[in-house]
Structure formats: C-alpha cells, structure tokens
C-alpha cells in the first residue's frame, strides 16, 4: 500500500499549503525527536528519596494496591509466602528469569513452588520485578523480556511486584531516561507497562468494581530504604 502512503502524505502537504519552509520543518522535527524535551513536571513528586517512597506508597494504596515495605530483598520470598497465605491461595507462584528474583532465598520457603516462564491460564499468582515506580501517581513501570514476561502482569488473579525503593522516581520522565539508558535512545522493549493499581471497570452503571480482566489484586513489595 505504498501508493496509499504517498497519497495520504501528498494530501497532507497540499492541505498544509504552499510556501512553507520544509527544511525548517524537518529541522524542527529532527531536533525534537533527538532532544525529547521535558514539559512541565508537577511539583507533587519532586521530593527527597524518603518523601518519594512515602508518596508512592500513599498514591498506590489510594488506587487499591496493597504495599509491604521490606528491609532487604532477602525478605521477598517470605513476604510472598505470607501474602499467599493471607489470601488463602495455593503456595505457588510464577516468575520470569529476572536474576534479581532468581537469586533470592526461595529455598527458605519449603512449601512454596516457584514456576518459571510466561503465564498459564490457571496461574493464580505471579511475581515480577519492576523497572521503577513513579511517586506522582503510585505507578509501576514494567518492561517485557525473558526476565519479566508481560503475560505475568495480566493473566494471574494476583500480581506481586517487587520494586526497589531506590528505583522510585518522582515522575515518568525520569523512568523514560532509564529505559533509554538500557535500550538506547529511540528504542523500546516490545512492551512497557505503566500499572496504577489493580484492574477495574465501571462499565455497569458506573459502579467501580475491581478485577475486570486483569489482576484482582496488586501487591507491591517495596524493598530497602
């Protein structure tokens, strides 16, 4: 359909009128794509690290996520077990190949079964590691890959997410820079998920209900200070 491409672009250029300076337009576009200038960043999230962590937790809880603060990542397996027990769930979770999760003392939880790979239809709970958090709105950023398969974020009823406190930024823009550091400018992993609370719908008489199609519950383990 390259004819259609040419036709649509020609229509646009005709509509934009003659006499425009194409070199200047091209320069403006290239410049913006290269510089990706930041706009206005709300003051709300621009806090010191401790303030950011507190605000993140407050905002995430406001949208019905639950939070557990853990001193160290070594506490994660026990916290996962505790969560499953508290929800009367089977002692079984699925995770990806994230080395930050794989290296944890799971063997200390004798009854906890840890499966790996993408989500299966009958998975009840999954554990992912977030790339970061955004204090401004209590939002998690998760990126796809063998370490954290995207389906783990959506198929199981309970999604447990490990987030290092040090990875909580004030705003989205800081996390975009982090994605660029990892993948390169202008390059993205297949999927980047910004997740703010568990799944919900208000499609029946505008009454808010949790657990529409994605997870019914989002449990965030904030690790470290």
């Amino acid at each position: 359909m390259s004819d259609a491409r040419a036709a649509i672009l020609a229509k646009m250029r005709a509509a934009m009128g003659r006499g425009r300076d194409d070199d200047a337009r091209r320069a403006a576009v290239t410049d913006r794509l290269q510089r990706s200038p930041r706009g206005l960043i709300p003051a709300r999230g621009q806090l010191d690290p401790a303030g950011r962590i507190d605000l993140f937790c407050e905002m995430a809880e406001k949208v019905q996520a639950s939070i557990a603060r853990l001193p160290s990542s070594a506490d994660v397996p026990a916290a996962v077990s505790d969560y499953l027990k508290s929800k009367n769930l089977p002692a079984r979770v699925r995770t990806g190949a994230d080395t930050r999760l794989a290296g944890l003392p799971w063997q200390g939880q004798a009854h906890l079964e840890v499966a790996h790979g993408p989500a299966q239809a009958d998975d009840m709970a999954s554990v992912s590691h977030a790339l970061g958090g955004v204090a401004e709105t209590g939002t998690l950023m998760l990126t796809s890959g063998p370490d954290n398969p995207t389906t783990l974020n959506f198929v199981p009823e309970h999604h447990i997410v490990v987030l290092r406190a040090a990875d909580i930024a004030g705003d989205y823009e800081t996390l975009w820079d982090r994605v660029r550091e990892i993948h390169g400018k202008g390059v993205m992993p297949r999927t980047v998920n910004l997740v703010t609370g568990p799944s919900r719908s208000a499609d029946i008489e505008q009454t808010l209900l949790l657990g529409a199609h994605g997870p019914r519950a989002l449990h965030i383990l904030v690790v470290g200070e």
């Binding site: 390259s2 934009m16 206005l40 959506f154 297949r190 008489e205 529409a212």
Partner: protein, 479 residues
C-alpha cells in the same frame, strides 16, 4: 457499516427523551463524571498549564504531521513491525481482512477502539466469516445487545444492570439458569470467565491506539480493565488500528498528555494500564505477539488540516465534553446517529460523513460552553459548531423556514433604528397582552417553545433600551 441516522436527530432525540430506562441510565453520567473530574483537576495545581502544553504538543505534531508519520513508520519497521496506510474505511477493512486471511484467523479478540467502530469493522469481519469478540466489559455488553457505543469511553452507559443481567442469561446458556446475578460483581465475574477463554483461543488481537509515538515507533493504549493487554499479548498477531492524528513526537510528550487524559475522562490521576507496544516480540521474549501490524487510517482527516476544523484533530477522546454537555445528558449518545456523540461528535461527524448528513448535530447545542471549558486539549468546540452552521447555511442545507426567518432577521438587524423601533413596539404590545397572566400559553411562530412550556410575557423595555438606560445612569457602571 454503521448505519447513519444523524439526519433523523430530531426524531432520535424525541424518542430518547421518552425512553425511561435510558433516562435512568443517563443519570449516572450527570452524577458521576463531572464531580470526579473536578476533584482530580483541583488536586493537581499544574492541571491548567498541562492543558496548555498538551494543546501545544498536538498543534506542533499537526503542523509537522507528514514528517512525524514518516519518522513513526520508519521506527515501526525498524522494530520489525508492518505499517499499512489506509485512505478510506474500506481500505482499512480490506487490509485487516487480508491480515486475518493470511493467518487463517477465525476468531479475533478486540480491545476497545472507536476507530474500528468508525470503519464498521465488526460487521465486515462477520460477513467474511471471522468472529470478532469485544473484550472491554462495556463493549462486550453492547455487542451482545447488537448495539453500538453510546459514549466514547463508557460504551454501555445507556444500559442498566437489569438489562445486562437479561442479556447474560440470554447468551450464556451454558451456565446454570437459576444462578444469582443480582450483584454487579457477579455480572463482572461471569464476563471475566467467559472472555478468559476467548483471549487464549483468539488468532489475532486487535486494539486501537490512544497515541502513536514517532520517537520510538510505539503504539499506546490506555485502559482500566486490562482487556486490551490480554488482547494484544496472548494471540500470535497484534493489529493496531489508529487514525493519523494520534501521532505525538516523544515519550515526554505522551507523558504530558497522559497527565490530563485520565483526569479529564474518569477523574483518575492515571488509568490503571498504560501500555507501550513496539514491534513484535523480541527473539528471547517468552511471550507477546509474533507479528505486529499498524493500520494508519486517514478517512477524511487530512482534509481537515489547514481548515478551521484542524483543532479538532487535537482530540484525545477523553469524553469530558459529552460528560458535561446538557444536550448529551438529555438524549444520550445514540441520538447523534453515528459513531461519535456529544460536542466532539457534533464537530467531527460533519467532517467525516458530510454536513449534509449531519447538519443537525452542530445545531444540537445551547452554546453553553461547558465542553470547551473542560476540554483538556482546549478545542474551541462551540466556535467550530458555529463554523458548521455557517457552512450549512452557505450550502442551503437548512430548512426554508429557518433560512427565511434568518434572512428577515438579518434585514432588520442591519438597520438598527428600524430594528429598535420594531422591537420596542413588539415588546410593548406583548407586555400589554400578557399583563393579566404574565405568560402566554400559545404564540404564533413560537409553537416549538409553547408546546412544552409557557412563554413569559415581557416586562419593561427591550434589552437594548435597558442597556442604554443602565449605561446612561452610571457611566463607569457595571459594564
């Protein structure tokens, strides 16, 4: 195709006003959305300045739309995706069907997408033996009912709970007929279970896009349910259908607009899932689609560039304008007679299907201005409705009586002395005639008003006389 009933707007509106269940359902729009938006906007001190930025970003993108589209398409292809350009709805349908056929697809799941409504995709796929399954709860409900969305973000807002229950009992015949469906949570749970199977069975997942990012070749969807994500991450093929004006330059630009989108739409600070998709799954990825296609649809939009309707292309489909519209509150979305209802529909529909078909829509406004005052993209909706009214008039599309009436009024309005003399006499006469009751039950040429309510009898002089008097009394006065 979606049947166009916009020419019958007046009859549609009359029917809607008499529809008791619809009126009950519309109460939820009035009571919910307005207060929630106000609270969310109030809580963010930078909200109005972010609206300015959002407007400027889209204006910049539209001024360079050809170049950003090229940059975007190059990036999609660099990430291993395919870009298809569609000039018309028919082209888009054909492209999507070809993708379905190349994959031998029998079932496609769909995330919520107004653009696929615009191109009438579901009916077309069904005609060609591909079964589309809507997965957004509201869209699922109206698909069961054989209806179209009546609101761009709350498609089933016209449906009441008892109607959903009846539809589920009618369609989900594999379930116990005596099951209890009294609670909305039970209805949600049932839809969740039914659709779960569909996500895993589907050959292709189709979504729309809230944004296309030129910097990275990324399509973005914004949802609360997570259905769009299951739709696009479980099947082997992901097809994105998006119109050309969804382009924004960078991830920073998306982030600016996201800060006003959910707040304006549902009063959330952020929707639950904002998902950025770039190309198919990567070599080492254990999940995600193996194929990624983007269908870029023009369908009349490029003709809006450089016209007085270009600003409409800033629209991010948040629904705030209809949530705040007294006309929408009264008649709901279906009365508008095509895909896009409310103020944004009243402006966009004539651009896309012609003002000859939809001239009633820009007239269905009181010009109260609430839509513009809440629009996160600062689109001058009333002004653009006025442009459509002018075009309608200049093309002789409105009824003869209205044209003669306007012509007559214009004759006098252009002759101020005559106008003032005549109105003075008319006001005086009406005032005398109505002195006893203070109002009229009937009035020649004003039957449209007096059929439903009395016309108050004028008291005192004309507006201009009162104005002159007040102005004379206090020269520095209160305007």
């Amino acid at each position: 195709m979606v049947e166009i009933t916009s020419p019958a707007f007046k009859a549609n509106a009359r029917e809607a006003l008499a529809d008791a269940p619809l009126q009950r359902a519309l109460g939820h729009v009035r009571s919910g959305f307005i207060a929630k938006r106000a609270v969310a906007a109030e809580a963010l001190p930078e909200f109005d300045r972010l609206r300015d930025n959002a407007r400027d970003i889209k204006d910049h993108a539209l001024a360079h739309l050809d170049l950003y589209l090229e940059a975007y398409a190059d990036k999609v292809e660099a990430a291993g995706g395919h870009v298809h350009w569609a000039e018309t709805a028919e082209d888009a349908r054909r492209i999507i069907l070809d993708i379905c056929r190349s994959k031998n697809a029998r079932t496609v799941t769909k995330g919520k997408s107004m653009i696929t409504e615009e191109i009438g995709l579901n009916a077309f796929l069904e005609e060609h033996s591909v079964a589309p399954v809507e997965t957004d709860l509201g869209e699922y409900i109206i698909q069961l009912r054989g209806e179209h969305p009546s609101h761009i973000i709350a498609p089933a807002v016209h449906v009441n709970k008892d109607q959903v229950e009846a539809d589920f009992r009618r369609v989900h015949t594999h379930l116990d007929p005596d099951r209890n469906l009294d609670e909305p949570t039970t209805l949600l749970g049932e839809a969740r279970a039914v659709l779960r199977e569909k996500y895993f069975q589907a050959d292709i997942g189709i979504t729309g896009a809230n944004f296309l990012v030129a910097e990275t070749g990324t399509s973005v969807i914004v949802t609360n349910e997570g259905n769009g994500d299951l739709t696009q991450s479980l099947p082997k093929t992901h097809v994105v259908v998006a119109s050309i004006e969804k382009i924004v330059p960078t991830l920073e630009d998306v982030s600016q607009i996201l800060r006003v989108l959910a707040r304006s739409a549902t009063g959330q600070d952020m929707s639950v899932y904002t998902t950025f998709s770039t190309g198919p799954r990567r070599e080492a990825d254990p999940d995600g689609p193996e194929d990624y296609h983007v269908v870029l649809l023009d369908n009349g939009r490029s003709s809006m560039l450089g016209t007085e309707f270009q600003d409409m292309l800033r629209c991010i489909r948040c629904g705030a304008c209809m949530n705040h519209c007294p006309v929408y509150h009264a008649v709901g979305g279906h009365a508008y007679g095509w895909v896009y209802p409310g103020p944004m529909g009243a402006v966009l529909t004539p651009s896309l299907i012609g003002v000859d078909q939809s001239g009633h829509l820009p007239n269905a406004s009181t010009f109260c201005g609430r839509c513009e005052s809440v629009c996160p993209m600062r689109i001058p909706l009333p002004k653009m409705m006025r442009h459509w009214r002018e075009r309608e008039f200049s093309r002789n599309l409105n009824p003869a009586a209205a044209r003669y009436g306007l012509g007559l009024w214009a004759f006098f309005a252009k002759r101020p002395a005559l106008y003032q003399a005549l109105t003075r006499v008319a006001i005086g006469t009406l005032g005398l005639m109505g002195r006893a009751r203070g109002r009229f039950r009937a009035m020649p040429l004003a039957g449209g008003w007096t059929r439903y309510r009395d016309l108050p009898a004028p008291e005192g002089g004309t507006f201009q006389a009162q104005w002159a008097k007040r102005h004379g009394n206090s020269r520095r006065g209160t305007r």
